[in-house]
Each structure stands twice: as structure tokens, then as C-alpha cells.
Subunit: 386 residues, 4 copies
């Protein structure tokens, strides 16, 4: 049974990697390294196969996916030769044809956000009908937005819908896409730190529509390691005195996050982890620096000052040199499969048991990685039992 | 109710730090940073207070504890001023008087190991009687021995005891101390990688005597971090391709472990962790290098090569700059308290739920840190309920 | 022959360390580790002995030096016991009595900068006369100021002096101190990135007064390493593609530099090094982050991406965990001695051969460390020959 | 004017990279990144062009160079597409045809070393004649040998030649190749730590033959950085207390050096640098560990403990993640060009001014990188002037 994956930011590196990866996995050209849902405990769930996923999405850019894929080959993310295989080339072409223009503030100044939403909904419904899909999940993998500017109409769905019809844009793009997704009956996943569903009126809509959702901000590097290490310090009663994180990002991500407004969202979700786990405030901050030359790669350095018996001061440092898209893409596939499975089994509301995937999990304060993994496994058990 | 802690290697840095620390904690001069058993979940256990612990032990060295403590002050482990307080000075003097000569191969060539064991048993029993102690736990914090040379008499207690009466030494010191401890009715803890209780005849004796025991090799640095990180790679299906560890040690520890025979024990227990958690063999080794200038401090560097989606190669590195004694001493106090509590509640055999403390936990294959911590907490619950 | 060292920021950590260190060196209590001018090639110069240095200075703070010194003991900069020696205690008391109030914008709003300068000059001349000193060198070791706001009166000495008599403050404090120092006939050293002498009217004054000067911004950590490494990449024709630096600072330094305006000065001088040596622009920036818990210690991490044959991408990283005051103080003593020697031999103008000590050396574009060291040694030769 | 480059180990990664690189440079397909002799100061020397170099050599392996080159493409050393260009493919084929069997202890047990040398000499002379080459330089880029076992016949050329005719092998392969090279009138370069020319009888032969030579052990990673950093500590009078180096090597290099006997040569030459520059002994050692998964890549970590003013203890660490062949190959081309130029200008004996390229430079104790670079530049000046 084929399922749809509608990607916001469908022409970006993460989306392109997910699309190429799904085709490569389905054709047996690559292994499922980095895919959580291919582990043994998920087998009883009978999740959609990689070959059953159909991709489409919105994007403001119009670079063909085949060209985006070639760039990822040159950056060393996708191996040479892979994009030339029939399976992958066909998948890129089919997906390319299914990408619709995203919301571009400048392009259509006269339209209300309600008009825009109608167009987005029609795009998704067209994709579903055209491909004869039972379920479509919408996943935001686009660039990070600045934090939400509050508006009274965010509080209730009725007020929001009235306001959307006005001339003023009151939802940021991530939330407007989410609105459209929910109206189109799709579960939604926020893989970025952007606001998305985190507007009361939208969670109200999800509740009405009985749709599951999860987010936010995929945990693929520094924060993943923090989530593994912070419980170690806590469990051993070692007092963390300072935790300073520096993230060097290249590519578009680095550029977006060089804007302090956009970075603010991300830094907040990265910072949560250790203070939540430790339960006390800690000196030091998380910083994001743009280093264009790094391209698809990112390097993080964390310096952790801690105190042991007798107040002895000690230090732990780590560096993480990762390939962002290669870390994120398999998680996007995991989340697509899990969200569809949750929808098919009738789950609704925040899927807090997916916290393992997110820097700032919606609906839960659990930031310890092992506890999150345990929750994910029991989620799989419960789902399999339904 | 006062309890005894009998330390094998009672004049070493870890023992001295534990003794000073217990007195400093009891008098409120320091906080319980690094003590696991002071966390809230352990309160219902009503463990012995730090002021209720009485220390003694065996050592082949005869440097007074006060001098050892001063060296630790100069090395920056123990803060200036602490050893001059009444509580600490008194504790050092009392403990010093309670230390008995350890087994010195050269000192008494005519004695059989049975004779030596009798002397060790008498020492422990004298300590217990002299201090009117209900329980005494024996903890090995002495230098690492080479791996055990097998002997047929290790298989059964009767054979072992017969062989001990012969002229040939057939047990390494750590195991002879363990034999004496069990015969003296004490729970035993192996905080080093030395053989200790891991001889079938000795586990038989522990079973007969219905005594609890745990080990081996306290997990205080590089391996602690490995135990936190390896499950992260496993949970995310990231394939670890190489894991290389370098440990720079100073002090006596570095010197002992510069001997490849002694290092072999330690390296084996350090190596277990990631391969056990990951479930497949990994390129790279653990190395221990002696850097005398480091003194009480140790620095570890681990370089982890891993593979993600598309086979993309990534790297994580960490360094750990720790103060060995300040990391180990509070765990020695934790283990003393837990072993005594286990004994008082009638537990016997391997305390596998103490794996959280050890590099190579006896009786369990669980090497993931969070799982070990979970086991420790439920151990505390179960113990409290008895 | 006694010489005066007048410190701007005389109650700060660097000044306190320099004062304590000079007394400790003179009394033989410590070795001259970190003092460049104690190396063999400087012996023929017959520089002033450490015991011949007399200290005084300006500061806006009034914490007694003895208390500042105690804080440095508690931070682990100055060893326990040293401040209690007669030589050091006496030196701290004598210097304390010689510190005069610094320029405090809020304290005396009515005074013109010319009035303030007159007071500063009188302070320095009083110090010289009171101690019967042939030479006094003025060294700025105070907090970093924001970059200079240009003013037309900066262009020529006459205009400047006219403007100083007006109501408007037109010189930043570092430059007003410099003006006073030059007017008092003293060589000046800018150990911070603040403007100091880098105002055309002030270099005109130095020329008129035939006084030597040097600066700016002592090179004690990350930039020192950069100056050693950048020529390695250049010499080997390895193309540096990105060089990202992160500096974690505690104490007052971290706080001052958490202000982006103040940090701007410092970042600019830190950034110069590698681009000047390499001769082409490089991706990445230098960042300074405040981590109060680090206290007197600083940790820098640099990540250098470079390219070799076949365009192969490689990476070098370094971390530097240094004690700021212990690195800076001996250089302050070196610079005091060298500036006095230069003055005594009649040198005037920028001492470009002291570039070895500075991040942003005045009067030269040489940023390679070995070349700077070579220049310093031949400076010593030339000076000895005069 | 075409010149010959005869490589010992002609089918290894370094040799293959040098051959591919020379063709790629000559055809303009790559830039000269990593080539020292393409810097401006070397232009007046009019060194042989990359297109004028003709390659051949000895090797015990018989894997075709084209296959070795493909492996380097798959390892990410040589870019995709490069080996398929006409220029490179032709160069690989031509060189492949010019490689002769190396000395294989097992292959021809009856032959004396004199017989073997005759065959080697004939190979080189055949290469020279067949390609009509004025000059041929012989460069050893083969695997590292164990340290030399001394033999009385090493002391003088006559004795050596007599002994070579005996049944006993008395020269290690690297020295037998060197003997043959000198007899064939070729300058020799030892790019490995193997003995090579460092036998008195062989330097006597070089003197007789008036041939220049240089070595040993190309400086491409950890030691390069050490040579840049050690003078920094020395110049600043910072006392280095420990310097511990760990080198993780993959590929054949790692395997060879996992043999402690072979590693001994390399470790000795790596260790020299900092102690020679600093002038005093330092705690810690250099270690080489085999991590097969690293392939052509190597990662080094150095931990440097140093002391500043007041005896304050500080730490610097660096990691170097390099691609061995991409670092070594351009230096092989540099050395070939410089040795040929030296020969053509009539220089003989040890070229000590090439120390910049070597870990353990023959004929000089200068280990500071900047001083070595200065010597190289003045060597170029002097050579240009001849």
C-alpha cells in the first residue's frame, strides 16, 4: 500500500537525500544505516516499505532535484554512481514533477493567507488523489524561521481562520503549511525548530481532526550527543559547571542561522537538553557560526566543565564532524513511516514517544536519550498491539 | 550503627581519598558531589551514614596516610586546608593505626598461602572485633595485577584449599585477599581489573557463605563515556567502524599499567563496552600510556569513526581530563554502603545491578550506561522493600 | 638602578600577577618560566632586574591588591603560600599605596579631558619623583574598550590639545592615559586591543617627545598558536579554506568581551594573523564567548579546514587551556624591561621588533611567530651594541 | 629536458599519487596545492617541469598502477574522473611498464646481495638509457624497515663490497637500493625512516661519486605540527612538561607499523623534534596504532602539558586528520626536482637545507620548522646563483 510523504522544503538537501535514499534502499543499492525503524523491534509494526513511499512537496526554489542530487554527490554526501541508477533517476524525476511552489512572501502580495492555504491544501489533495494514496504525511524540512511573533488570533481556531482571511499575514510559513496539512487530513512532523504546529489554534485543529503530530527540530548532532552525555553526569552526581557549545555550519543552513533571529529558535531548542536533564542552570551557551566552506558538513565542539568529589574541576570535550543530510534523511524516512503507522492505528495528538528524534520534543520534558529510546520501543510495542 | 570498610591498598590514592572524603562529608566540610548513593532514590534505603564508616585495610606500603593525603593536596585533588581539620586529621590517624601489612611476595617466602590467608583473616576479624562492627565490606583498590594464570585447583573450593596449603602460590594476591574476606564473612568488591573473586572456587565459597559480591574495575573515565555513547550509536543505527582509545595516566597507575602484562587486564575490560553494546567487531584498540608528569590526573582521547546513510563517513572525538582519585573515591563509598545494605538484607551472590559502577560487571552483559542506571535504581527499590 | 612600571588597570588580574611575580622572582621564590627576556640572548642587554622594578598605576577599582592576590590564589593562578612571603606581601603593600584613581566617566563630569590629563600626568610625575626613578614605562593592562569613534581633532596634536580643553570627551580612556604618559615623558605599551596610541595626534606627540612605544594586544593564547601554525600551512602550500576560532573566557575579561562593541576590537586583532600570513581570505570567524565559571582560565578551540594535493580536504583542530594572567604577566615584565632599555638607548617611535608579543603589532605586517622571534633577537643584539 | 624519478615502492599509495599527480599537474587538471617548489622563491631555479618527469621504479608487488589508482579514487584521495583523463591514464601505463621487481628475500635465495645490486643497477641504467634521461633521482617511498642491525662491514666501502659478495645479507633492502642508486650515479632521497644511506660505507660511496642525497622520513602530519609548535613554547619560555602523541594509521602503513620493530624507526624520528627544539627531556611518548578502517587517512592527537609563570599548569591539544598520500606525494615531486637541480649544479653530500621536508634530517640538528623553511629558501637562492 503506497503512502505519500509531502515535504516542505522539497528541494533542499535533507529532502533530496531522503528521496534519493528511499529509492536506493528500495532497490537494495544502499544499506539502511542510520534508519531507526529498520531495527528488529520495529518489524512487528509492518511499516510502509521504502518502495511504497511516494514523494512530493512544496518549495520556493525551482532547482530540479536531479541537480540538487548532483551537488550532494559532489559534496560527498551521496556516493558517485548512485544518482545514475534507474531507480534513483526515476524517483527524482517523479518527485520533481510533484513539487509545487511554496509560499513566497513577495510573489503574490494580494492574496490573503486563507487564499494561500487553500492553494496549499489543493496541492496536497491533488497529490493524494493523483497517486491514489490512502495516507499522506507532511514533514517540514525547510529553513529555520525566526521565533513566532505572538498574535491574539493564535489562541483559538475560529479567531485564527477569521484572521487568515484578513490582509495581514499572521502565521509564519511553517504554521501556514501546518494548517493546510491538517485541513488536508495529514499528520504533520516539524523537523525544524520553526513554529509549525506550536500555535494553540493549530493544536486545536489537530485535536478536532484527530490527527497525530510530532516535532520539533530533528536531533542529528551536537544535541544528540548532549542527550546521551547529560544523563551520565546526572547519574554519577558529577556537577556540570559550564557547558559551552559551538556549531560550525556550512551550506544554506549556516547562512540561515547566521541570522541571529533564525538562530534564536535553534539555540533555544539545543540549550534545553542539558539543563532539563541536569535540573539546574549551567554557565555557558550554545553558539552557531556560519562557515560557508563546510558545505553539507558540520562540526560541533562542546566544552564541559564539571566538578567531582572535593570540588575537583575536570573537563570533557567532544567534537562531532557530521554530514547533516546523511544524518537527517533517514530520520525523515523513519518519522514518515511512524506517523503513517500512528495515523493508520488511529492515534491522535502529540506523539511524545517520538522524542528520541527531536531536540525540543513536543509534549514531553524527557530529554535523556536512553529514556527516549525506551519510550520509542514501547511505542512500537503498543502500536504493534493495536 | 557503625560499619567497617576494609581496603586492600589502604595507603593508595583512591583509599586515602575515600577516607578523607568520608570524614569531610560527615563533618559537612564538602558536598557529596560524585556520590551516587546520596541521590533521592537511595534515601529509602537508609544506608550507613558517612560518619558511621570505619576504615582499615591491608597495604604493602607503609607511608603514613597523613603524608599520602598531603601529596593529594599538592596534586590538587584534596583542597588546601581540608586535611588540617580535626575531623579529617583524626580519621587519618585512626585509619592509619588500623592498616595491616599486605601480602608481600618477598617478605615471608616460607609461609604457605594458607598461612598468609590465616593472617589476613585474623587482621579483618581483629578489626571487626576491635571496633565492634556488625558488618565489614572488603574492597580491593590496589594496583592492577596481570591476568590470572589458570591452575586446576581453581575449579573447586576443596582443591583450592588443599593447594593453598602447598608451597606453591596458586592464587594471585587479589584472590587471596578475596578468599580471606569471604572466610571472614565479608562481602567483597573488586574495584580493580585484578582477578579477585573470578575464580570458580571463590564464587563457590561466596555461595556457601551466602555473601554478596560485585566487580570489577571501577568505571570512572573513558569507559564511563563509552558506556554512555555506544548506545547512542546503536539506537540510531549509525555503524561504528573504528573506536580507538588512548589513555594517558600518571602516578603509580601509569607506571603499573606501563607493564603490558598488567595493562592487559585493564584493556580487556575497557574494550568490552562498545563491542558488547554494538554487537559487532570494530576496528581500533584501547591503549594505556604512562605519562608520569600527569600525576593524579588522566587524559583520555577517543576517536570514533562511524558511518551514516549512504555510507557517509563521520567522526566523533572526545577528551576526558579527570582526576582519578576524585572520581573513584565517592564510588568506593557508594559501593561500601550498597554492599553492606545488601548483606544486611540477606542478598548473596553477584550483585549484577551494580554494573553501573564497573567496566566489566560480574554476572551481566549489560554495558549500556542508562540501562545500568535503571537497574541500579530498581535494585534500590527492591532493597528498600525487603 | 630602579625603574618604574606604571600600570593602567593596576588592580586587575594581570597587573596583580605581574607585581606578585616580580617580587617572587626577585626573591627567588619562583622560576622565570614564561619570561622571554630571561633567555640567554637577552643577557648582554643588562635589563633592569626584577628587584629593580617599582610598580604603581591607575585603576577605577579600589579593591586592595592583597585581596586581588588572594583571589588569584583561590583560582589556582598564584600558588598557595606565595602571597604570605615577606617579599611579596611588602611589594603588594607598597604598590597598593602607589595606585591612583583612574578615569571614571561618572565621577567628575565637570572636568575637561585636559584637566583629567593634568591629574594623570601629576600622578605619574609624583610616582617618579617620590621613588627617585630615572625611567617610568606606562603599560595599559586594563579592560578592552570599544573601537575608536573617529573625530577630526585626532589628526593633529594641536587640534587634539585644543579639543581636550573643550567639554566633550574626544579621547577614549586608553588614549587619554597614553597622552598623559607621553606628556610625562614615558614610553608606552598597549597590552590590550584598546586604541591607546593609535591616534595620529598621539604618534605625533611620541615623535616630538622622542619616546618609544609598542602594542597592541598581548598575544597569549589562541593567537599565539595561530601565529605559529599559519606559516606552516603557507610554507607547505597547503590551502587553508576555513579557520574558525572560539574563545571561552571567564572572569572580568569574558564579561567585558561579551559586549559585542568591546569584543569587536579584540576579534579584529585576532583575525588579522592568519589572513596576513596566508595572504588570502579564509572562511570562518573568531568568536569570544563569556563563560563566567571559567574564572581566570580560558579555553580556545580552533577548527582549520585545509586542502592538499588533489584538493583533498583535511582538518586540523587545536584546543588551548590557559591561565590568562599567568601567560600575560611575564610578558608585561618583559615589555617593561625592553621598553625601558629602548628608552635608555635612545630609541624612539614604534618598536616593531616587539611584534612577537602582540596580536596586532603596531608598525609592521609581520605576523609569523618565528619571524617575529627572529626580529626580537636581532633587536636585542642591536640594542646591546648601542 | 626530461628527468627520471625512480621510486622504491613504485606501486604504493605515495608513489601512485605522485605519478598521477605529476601527470595531472602537467595537464593542468589540478592545482599545485601542497607543492612547495611551485612557490615564487623557487621560480629562478627553473626546476624540471612536472611534464618533464619520467617515472619508473622497483616494487615487490605487481598490482598494476591503474588498479592502485582506482583504489585511491575509492578512498577519496584522488578525485573521481581524474584517472580516466588521457594524460593520467597514459602516464600510469607508461610508468607501469617501467616498474621492475624489487628485492624479495624469499624469491632468489641463492643470489648474493652483490648479484641483487647488479640487477638493480641494471634496471636503473636501463630506465635511464631507454628514456634518454640526463638525470635520474632515486626516492625510497616503500614500507618502513626495522632499525639497522650493525655489522662491521658497514664501516667502509671496501669491506661492504666484499661482504656483499658473501652469502649473508648484510644490508637491509633500503640500503641495498641506495647502494645500487649511487653506483648508478643517482642522487638518493630517503622518504621513509628506513636506514637507506645512513651506513658509513654508503656515505663514503656518495662522497666518492660526488652525489647529493637527503633524508629521512617525510614530515607530513603530526611531526610537521610539532616542528611548528615546539619553537613557540621555546620562544616564550613556556616549559613543556609532557608531550604525548598518538597516531592512528590505516592502510598498509598502519599494518607495517603495528610491528613494534618497524615502528621503532618511525617513533624515534618523530620523537626527536620536540626534545631537540626544547633542549630538555619531556614526559610522554609517541605511539603509532593500526586502525585498518582508516585506510589512506590518518588521525593524530597530541596532548601537551606545559607550565607558565607561577608554575601554572596548562594544556594544549591538537588533532590532525590528514590524507597521507595527498600530503606526501607533492613533497616527493618537490624533492625529486630539488635533488635533480642540486645534482645538475654539482652539489654533493647531504642536502641539509632540505630538513624542512624530513622528520629526522640527515646532517643537521635543526628541527624548528620556520628555521628549516628559511634554510630551504636560502638554498634556493644559492642554487639559483650557481
Amino acid at each position: 500500500m503506497r503512502c505519500g510523504v509531502w515535504l516542505i522544503g522539497a528541494r533542499g538537501s535533507v529532502a533530496t537525500s531522503a528521496v534519493v535514499g528511499a529509492a536506493a534502499l528500495a532497490s537494495g543499492a544502499i544499506e539502511a544505516t542510520g534508519c531507526v525503524t529498520e531495527q528488529a523491534p520495529f518489524r512487528p509494526l509492518r511499516l510502509p516499505g521504502f518502495g511504497e513511499l511516494v514523494f512530493g512537496g512544496h518549495d520556493v526554489a525551482d532547482t530540479p532535484l536531479a541537480i540538487r542530487a548532483e551537488r550532494l554527490v559532489r559534496s560527498g554526501v551521496i556516493p558517485h554512481g548512485l544518482t545514475g541508477t534507474d531507480a534513483v533517476a526515476r524517483m527524482l524525476a517523479v518527485t520533481d514533477a510533484a513539487v509545487r511552489p511554496g509560499i513566497d512572501a513577495g510573489a503574490d502580495p494580494a492574496a490573503s493567507q486563507a487564499d494561500l492555504a487553500d492553494r496549499l491544501i489543493a496541492d496536497i489533495e491533488g497529490f493524494r488523489a493523483g497517486n491514489d494514496l490512502a495516507d499522506v504525511v507532511v514533514i517540514d524540512v525547510s529553513s529555520t524561521e525566526p521565533p513566532l511573533r505572538p498574535h491574539p488570533a493564535h489562541a483559538a481556531l475560529d479567531d485564527l481562520e477569521a484572521a487568515l482571511r484578513g490582509g495581514e499575514p499572521i502565521l509564519p510559513p511553517s504554521s501556514l503549511y501546518t494548517y493546510a496539512a491538517l485541513r488536508a487530513g495529514c499528520p504533520v512532523i516539524g523537523f525544524t525548530p520553526s513554529t509549525g504546529i506550536r500555535v494553540p489554534a493549530l493544536t486545536e485543529l489537530a485535536r478536532q481532526a484527530a490527527l497525530p503530530y510530532a516535532g520539533c527540530d530533528g536531533k542529528t548532532g551536537e544535541t544528540l550527543v548532549k542527550a546521551a552525555l547529560a544523563p551520565m553526569f546526572a547519574g554519577r552526581s558529577l556537577r556540570v559547571r559550564s557547558w559551552s557549545g559551538t556549531n560550525l555550519l556550512g551550506g544554506g543552513d549556516g547562512e540561515t542561522l547566521a541570522d541571529p533571529a533564525a538562530a534564536a529558535s535553534k539555540i533555544e531548542s539545543k540549550r534545553l537538553v542539558h539543563e532539563q536533564v541536569l535540573g539546574y542552570p549551567v554557565s555557558g551557551d550554545v553558539h552557531i557560526h556560519n562557515v560557508p566552506d563546510l558545505g553539507e558538513w558540520k562540526t560541533a565542539w562542546d566544552n564541559i566543565g564539571f566538578e567531582g568529589f572535593f570540588g575537583a574541576r575536570m573537563t570533557m570535550q567532544f567534537t562531532w564532524q557530521g554530514c547533516d543530510s546523511a544524518l537527517a534523511a533517514p530520520l525523515v524516512l523513519d518519522l514518515a513511516r511512524l506517523a503513517i503507522a500512528a495515523r493508520q492505528r488511529g492515534l491522535a495528538g502529540p506523539l511524545t514517544d517520538l522524542a528520541f528524534f527531536f531536540k525540543d520534543p513536543i509534549g514531553t520534558d524527557e530529554h535523556g536519550l536512553a529514556a527516549q529510546y525506551g519510550a520509542l520501543l514501547s511505542f512500537a510495542d503498543r502500536l504493534a498491539a493495536r
